[in-house]
């Protein structure tokens, strides 16, 4: 395949080119094996049905990939998918999804990232980019103003994310180009690697970086001139005006410290897993809380397209360990995974670990979980054959672990594929120390406290996911956004905290439908939008007559399509389960003695299957698939 061969130009729909449509109707297709570039044209009904983002990803995977592919098979698709609302005037829409078959789980990978990449992709003329095949040598994709080109990336291979972005900006002569890329970890096919955007915004989970690396694709650079416009601006303008008038009150938490402000609170309330799920508390947790690190280590704030909140932290430090602000700063999940999960309370070490993950392109959740698992294995003398022996609480070992993972060096070669695959190699009962579902590490919302989140971890087609889920502790507080949405549906609130009642399953059904809609549209979960806001946004975007029931049906469609994909790839109801640590109660701390049992989880799952219209084996019925208009996808 020849590279740097010139741009292939596509003609835009006149309405889109004139700035009168929120979608171009064009999905850019690229085959890296033969260098072919073309577009799929989609009509209005496609966007109303699948919305974009996760919906578009699962549609393409079901429709175009053969069952049971190895995730590194060139026929696997790597899909970049903004949503119908990405890049519109609505705050919180500076997001997009990335997906494919996961190298980590073997199931669906669909991660959402903030920043500017998604909006710029739509401005460049494409509603999504679907990439297949494998290039002979490293390449990157350059997309601009309705045209695309495959370019040589031999000189970029091996570069950290900041260096790669700098080089592409220099080469193409434009510092406003937005770049999705993998770091060295993705190049080495680490199954816990990510796709990074704007350097610090990760489509973090499920090993998407390895999928991109398997295609020899280093980056996708985008720049566009088209306006993403609306059919009925006034409808969306109402919601925009409301949020701009209220976000300083409703999102004050995000404006003050970002998600990092919850580190100590979550620790104190039993939300955060500590020491690979063994401990109830960690001394020095306050060292990691944004309330404390703000003055010394957080030097600035950052944001995403169309977002006035600016919840992203920018860390900086000069000393024995330098922290480069170009790599942004940590979220709660990153601090929790690289901090208390590994019993590390040194803020500089944890922030440096966060920087290294952004530089090498590693998922901070799975990296933290895998290092913590390794530390426990070392403590139990299960890894004596390796010279490197990382110990709990050792900040230097944390940093060295990340270096070794990114380089697949020694023990790092095992760690690069996540804790579940490590346990398969180690044996000796080490699987009892795993905190995973479908081989993916749990996020740091503890299922022993948040039982329905645990059910969501077990069920999710994308592996454990704390976002497209029902957060138990929010559903128990009447003032939360979740309770507002549930009352909008006529449901009684608040919910009881412990256990998984039918009431909780009903709430889980609606909340996961709503959030799968958000991940398809693609909208930030932090905004306090309710169903009616999304009704207005959809109708404003497309000039449609969508109602609340259609929003729910869209979410249901995407959940059921993802379930079909999961089953098609060989998963069964037996795989809807947590690993041992999800059921292992701590001896002390705020949730001492609390945990579900595998039996209680199975019983709750049976009630959930019935609510979804699925069989006892978790298979969607033909009636449900017919109602959601995906029966053809089910039949292949």
């Amino acid at each position: 395949m020849k590279t740097n061969h010139g741009m292939t130009q596509f003609e835009m729909r006149p309405e889109f080119a004139a700035g009168k449509s929120p979608y171009s109707g064009k999905v850019l297709r690229v085959n890296l094996t033969n260098g072919k570039i073309w577009v799929d044209n989609h009509d209005e009904l496609f966007y109303r049905k699948w919305v974009g983002g996760r919906g578009l990803i699962v549609y393409y995977l079901l429709k175009e990939t053969p069952p049971n592919l190895d995730p590194f098979d060139p026929r696997n698709l790597l899909i970049f998918a903004p949503g119908i609302l990405t890049g519109t005037i609505l705050p919180g829409t500076g997001r997009h999804a990335v997906g494919g078959k996961s190298p980590l789980t073997g199931a669906l990978a669909s991660g959402e990232a903030g920043g500017w990449w998604g909006s710029e992709c739509k401005k460049a003329g494409f509603d999504a980019v679907v990439i297949e095949g494998k290039a002979e040598k490293p390449v990157y994709l350059w997309i601009k103003d309705g045209a695309a080109e495959i370019r040589d990336a031999s000189h970029l291979w091996g570069l950290k994310t900041v260096d790669c972005q700098t080089e592409i900006h220099r080469e193409l002569g434009d510092n406003k180009i937005r770049i999705a890329q993998i770091g060295p970890a993705g190049e080495k096919l680490a199954r816990i690697s990510t796709v990074m955007h704007d350097i610090s915004r990760a489509a973090g989970r499920s090993g998407l970086g390895a999928l991109m690396g398997s295609k020899n694709l280093k980056a996708v650079a985008v720049r566009g001139k088209f306006d993403v416009d609306l059919e009925a601006k006034e409808l969306m303008a109402i919601t925009r005006k409301w949020i701009l008038a209220n976000y300083k009150n409703d999102m004050a938490w995000a404006m003050e410290y970002g998600t990092a402000g919850s580190v100590k609170a979550n620790h104190d309330a039993g939300v955060t897993a500590i020491g690979n799920y063994l401990d109830g508390s960690m001394e020095g947790i306050e060292n990691l809380d944004a309330v404390n690190i703000f003055n010394g280590l957080i030097k600035d704030r950052d944001t995403c397209n169309r977002c006035p909140v600016r919840c992203k932290l920018v860390a900086s430090h000069e000393g024995d360990v330098n922290i480069n602000p170009a790599y942004g700063g940590p979220e709660y999940e990153s601090l929790a995974g690289l901090g208390p999960m590994c019993r590390v309370n040194d803020a500089v070490a944890v922030l440096k670990a966060n920087e290294l993950c952004a530089a090498y392109g590693l998922d901070t959740i799975s990296t933290g979980g895998t290092i913590a698992f390794t530390m426990e294995c070392v403590e139990k003398k299960l890894l004596n054959d390796f010279a490197f022996q990382p110990k709990f609480g050792d900040g230097d070992a944390l940093l060295e672990s990340i270096e070794k993972i990114a380089a697949r060096d020694g023990l790092g070669d095992w760690m690069a594929d996540g804790s579940a695959r490590m346990a398969e190699k180690i044996g000796k009962g080490s699987e009892q120390m795993l905190a995973v579902a479908k081989k993916q590490e749990f996020p740091y919302h503890d299922p022993r406290l948040k039982n329905v989140i645990g059910m969501g971890y077990a069920l999710s087609a994308t592996g454990p996911d704390h976002m497209a889920n029902l957060n138990d502790t929010f559903a128990t507080w009447d003032g939360s956004d979740i309770c507002v949405r549930l009352r909008e549906l006529g449901m009684e609130t608040p919910l009881k905290l412990w256990g998984i009642s039918d009431h909780k399953i009903e709430a889980f059904f609606y909340e996961t439908a709503f959030k799968n809609f958000l991940d398809s549209a693609v909208i930030c979960h932090f905004y306090p939008y309710d169903f009616q806001h999304m009704v207005d946004a959809m109708n404003g975007a497309g000039g449609w007559d969508v109602d609340m029931h259609e929003i729910i049906a869209i979410g249901e469609r995407i959940i059921n399509a993802a379930r079909l994909y999961l089953l098609r790839e060989g998963f069964t109801a037996d795989d809807d389960m947590l690993s041992a640590r999800g059921f292992h109660a701590t001896k002390d701390g705020p949730i001492a003695g609390k945990a579900m049992t595998p039996e209680s989880l199975r019983e709750a799952l049976q009630r959930y299957y019935r609510r979804m219209g699925w069989s006892n084996d978790g298979v969607p019925s033909e009636e449900v698939l017919d109602r959601l208009d995906i029966i053809d996808l089910a039949r292949g």
């Binding site: 938490w253 309330a269 309330v291 128990t476 003032g479 009881k496």
Partner: protein
């Protein structure tokens, strides 16, 4: 106003990010944790986990004399 008797009271502690300064007051040991916290926490969109004597408690539990009650602010996602 009748002074709260210590043996019939509970401690309510609210601290950052709920308040700029730590607040530690005696409250009557009557009613539920939910009702007590609703009097002091009115932030829209926020959610809290109640800790009673260091353990996560059911919000609908009854306040007992001698309880130390904390409300821990929750932040979604990340």
């Amino acid at each position: 106003m009748e002074k709260i008797k210590k043996e019939q009271s509970a401690h309510l502690i609210l601290d950052k990010p709920l308040t700029t300064k730590r607040m530690d007051i005696l409250v009557p040991a009557t009613g539920t944790y939910r009702a007590l916290l609703a009097r002091f926490i009115i932030d829209p969109g926020a959610a809290y986990i109640p800790l009673v004597n260091g353990k996560v408690a059911d919000l609908d539990g009854e306040i007992q004399a001698g309880d130390e009650i904390r409300a821990v602010a929750q932040i979604v996602g990340g």
